[in-house]
């Protein structure tokens, strides 16, 4: 940490004579806004994605806190006053005291419905409706609008051309389009929330999703939003695949690419191949809702399990769209901050591709409890295959730490946390792939805890870690590492407190998506809720650290951590066209033993001495 406190840092990044960085405003604020809104620069688009994703993360996080708060007590914690559907007024009892929904559970109709249209009321609101909407909101936003685009669209967009030594992604205008598509999809989803929300769960399982709130368009809007977001995902993935194929710098072979690129490449392949299936699924779901076409509706001869196959053919591979980029980020952070060549480069690279392939073979493990014995057996066997490449990656990362030189910077702390959390997430997945135990654990809090360990402990933690790693490159400012570390530890502790307890809830019998539960579970829920508040505090600390860095951060040197990949050859922040000269690749991305990092100034940051033979 102290290594970076040199006040002279940053002079390498200051190449004023080459024209401004990509962040330099083009003129007045209006010009600047128009410039950003119409930019085809991958860096600006990456930053725009970052802002959008973080905003959605905030929304989804609020929903999560609401859910956790509700679960503090076995009954209603957050009370909602009931509405008399006949009069549309808030209900009071004879003494003028407000009547809460929980008191009249199952007796009166939904406040929301009554407000919109007093005519035909289609579902009873026993007071759980808003809770169901909150967890659906949390799930849908976090999956479709945060985790899927988090690393690929923000860090990926920013870094892939830089790491490849290219001036831009293959199709810059398509890239901008994909951002607008993302925003459009998000607006649809948010609209659906504003006009009343969706209570289907993020999985939109039929026939519930096609019939709930039958008179209202909320579900259609939300599904349409997810459908549109799919296009954004496809365009991004397609762009990256072509970029990796066609725009590598001279001298960069496939095995000279940084592992982040390998991970992003695998991710993009999954995005391209899986997303269209969710497209048609959601389209058919919309038709099902609007026209009752019956393909998924058992009352009309369709098959709800068919919907599940459609849905999970996308949504399982997409789990790897979420976690593979995180693997890529870790494969960058550990070698750079450990200043050591990654152990088993090819194994890690092929493991990425292997995960991408296997991801298309295992979706059925989301349906073990729906009774298809043959398919369940086959899918269970295939599911265990996923464990192999992921385990290989973890072994490689830990082997990389061996005889390295570990600088305990904030990104490195995050990488270590990732190893801890992802190991738990991965290992707790084993009983879920095991048929006998899954029949008990499926759809319980055990599953909730497991996928939060993977999705949040894996992806979000790494996203924040990666953000800390490339923040100086993206914005040309250093941040306060002391407070960033405090934030990281708070997040780590908060995360474990929140989610480890949920494993016990699950094994003991707490089903997911429950607003009320038997009293025995309360202590676990309370611990979990306290943990979630701690998580909030941790993220707020990060927010302030970043804001402080933007306003008052020290200027960042071009290469603050001593990385060897090409993005560190650019200035911090990079020029509009990334590099002054097309970079030639003369060393591997992790050849720390033989190469002095570009722009290295020992006064900026001390690196371990090179071994003797390198000189």
């Amino acid at each position: 940490m102290t290594t970076l406190d040199s006040s002279k840092a940053g002079h390498h990044g200051d190449h004023g004579h080459h024209g401004g960085s990509y962040l330099t405003p083009k003129g007045g604020w209006l010009t600047t806004v128009i410039d950003w809104a119409t930019t085809v620069d991958h860096k600006k688009i990456g930053v725009m994605y970052l802002v959008a994703v973080l905003f959605m993360f905030f929304l989804g996080g609020v929903a999560a806190l609401v859910v956790r708060t509700e679960l503090m007590t076995p009954v209603r914690t957050v009370e909602v006053q009931a509405t008399d559907p006949a009069t549309g007024k808030a209900m009071v009892d004879a003494d003028g005291k407000p009547v809460m929904k929980s008191e009249i559970r199952g007796q009166w109709l939904g406040e929301m419905k009554a407000k919109i249209d007093g005519q035909e009321l289609t579902s009873i609101d026993g007071g759980n409706n808003w809770y169901n909407r909150a967890f659906t909101l949390h799930g849908a936003i976090m999956v479709f609008m945060v985790i899927i685009p988090s690393i690929p669209a923000s860090l990926g967009n920013f870094l892939i051309p830089l790491m490849l030594g290219a001036k831009d992604v293959a199709f810059p205008r398509l890239n901008l389009l994909s951002w607008y598509v993302y925003v459009t999809g998000s607006i649809f989803a948010v609209c659906s929330i504003v006009i009343g929300g969706v209570d289907t769960g993020w999985t939109f399982y039929t026939p519930y999703s096609t019939t709930t709130d039958a008179e209202y368009a909320n579900v259609v809007l939300m599904v349409l939003g997810a459908f549109i977001l799919g296009f954004s995902s496809i365009l991004t993935g397609l762009n990256f695949v072509v970029t990796v194929h066609k725009l590598r710098a001279p001298g960069m072979g496939w095995f000279d690419m940084p592992l982040f690129i390998w991970a992003m490449y695998s991710t993009s392949i999954i995005q391209v191949l899986a997303t269209p299936v969710i497209g048609i699924t959601l389209l058919l779901l919309i038709f099902e809702r609007m026209f009752k076409i019956g393909i998924f509706d058992p009352a009309l001869g369709g098959d709800p399990v068919l919907y599940q196959h459609f849905f999970w053919f996308y949504s399982h591979p997409v789990v790897y769209v979420m976690i593979l980029p995180a693997f890529g980020v870790i494969s960058e952070i550990i070698p750079v901050h450990g200043h050591k060549k990654i152990f088993g480069y090819r194994a890690v690279a092929f493991a990425s591709l292997g995960v991408a392939l296997v991801s298309f073979l295992v979706w059925g493990h989301h349906m073990f409890a729906s009774s298809g014995e043959l398919a369940a057996t086959v899918f269970s066997a295939l599911t265990f295959l996923v464990a192999i490449p992921t385990a290989v990656k973890v072994f490689n990362w830990i082997a990389t730490l061996y005889k390295s030189s570990i600088a305990l910077t904030t990104p490195m702390w995050y990488a270590l946390m990732f190893l801890f959390l992802f190991s738990i997430g991965g290992l707790t997945g084993l009983p879920l792939g095991t048929l006998a135990t899954d029949l008990h654990l499926h759809d319980s809090y055990y599953v909730v805890a497991h996928f939060h360990y993977v999705m949040m402990g894996g992806t979000i933690i790494t996203f924040v870690g990666g953000l800390h790693h490339w923040w100086p490159k993206m914005f040309g400012r250093m941040y306060n590492q002391f407070w960033a570390n405090i934030g990281a530890f708070t997040v780590f502790i908060g995360f474990n407190v929140t989610f480890f307890t949920q494993f016990f809830l699950g094994t003991q019998g707490m089903p997911r998506r429950y607003a009320s539960y038997i009293d025995d579970y309360q202590i676990y829920h309370q611990i979990s809720t306290v943990g979630s508040y701690l998580l909030l505090v941790g993220f707020l600390i990060h927010l302030f650290v970043f804001l402080h860095s933007l306003v008052a951060g020290r200027k960042a040197p071009a290469n603050p951590w001593g990385g060897l990949t090409l993005e560190w050859e650019a200035t911090s922040p990079p020029d509009e066209h990334n590099f002054h000269h097309e970079p030639m690749v003369k060393h591997g991305p992790y050849d720390f033993e033989t190469t002095v990092p570009p722009h290295w100034d020992p006064k900026d940051y001390p690196l371990p001495a090179l071994p003797k033979h390198a000189h």
Binding site: V169, A170, H245
Partner: protein, 259 residues
């Protein structure tokens, strides 16, 4: 890619395609073309997988309700399907030939072939809409429909001065909750119609998108944008149009020729 830019430094007397300059991040136009084609193939892959869902739904439901599918299919006339297959195949040929013309700098033939392709698209949609969708959905027949004379016993309305004739009881083979056909012989026939309209409807949507692309190509071709060294847009439009054809090649036997 770029349009009326002046980056090449050549004057307006030189055709637009000769003035084309690759995007700034490409080393040369060759690489850009290669990348665009690869990108477009990836996009085509997503299109195929979009239809994969429909084919999968078709397979599962046909496996479950074979009779409903056979019955439902019997309402479709394979000869209209055949005509449309021919139309699409011919249009695919004209599209491919058009690209060839632009590669050889035979601009006017290229444009003509593009126009023919477009007209074939219209023909496809016309047959689909007038002779298949319209009567089946609503019972309204186009007066030239060869099947019409056989149903005149049940005629109960006319519109637009006899241009369209309504046949009582023929219509209503609509998807889902709009289904109201009274003479089905299998309880699951509405499902067949759902699959039929989803598959052909989404395919027709792709025809429309393809036609828009072709129209755009035609407009640009009039401006002289395509020639031997630069025809990326026509090439990719062609790929898209062939994909539309490709999907139909599978839809035709699956929908029209089952028994």
């Amino acid at each position: 890619m770029s349009t009326l830019d002046t980056r090449s430094g050549l004057g307006n007397d030189v055709p637009l395609w000769k003035r084309y300059v690759a995007g700034h991040h490409w080393r040369n136009a060759e690489e850009e073309f290669d990348a665009c084609t690869l990108g477009f193939w990836l996009f085509l892959a997503t299109e195929v997988l979009l239809f994969a869902g429909l084919f999968c739904a078709y397979a599962i439901l046909r496996f479950k309700y074979p009779d409903a599918f056979v019955n439902g299919s019997s309402y479709l006339d394979w000869r209209w399907g055949c005509v449309n297959t021919g139309v699409l195949l011919i249009s695919s040929y004209t599209m491919a030939a058009s690209i060839r013309m632009f590669q050889l700098d035979r601009q006017s033939t290229g444009k003509l072939l593009l126009a023919i392709t477009f007209i074939c698209g219209i023909g496809f949609l016309f047959v689909k809409g007038t002779f298949e969708y319209l009567p089946k959905l609503s019972g309204w027949f186009f007066f030239l429909d060869p099947a019409l004379p056989h149903y005149l016993d049940f005629k109960n309305g006319e519109a637009l001065g006899g241009l369209f004739v309504h046949i009582d009881g023929y219509g209503g083979k609509a998807p889902g909750q709009f289904f109201s056909y009274a003479f089905s012989s299998d309880p699951w026939e509405p499902l067949w119609w759902s699959v039929y309209y989803c598959a052909t409807g989404i395919h027709a949507l792709h025809v429309v998108i393809g036609m828009s692309l072709i129209a755009w190509c035609w407009v640009r071709a009039r401006m002289g944008a395509y020639g031997p060294t630069h025809y990326t847009m026509v090439e990719n439009t062609g790929l898209y149009w062939h994909l539309v054809d490709l999907i139909w090649i599978f839809l035709f036997p699956l929908l029209y020729l089952i028994h």
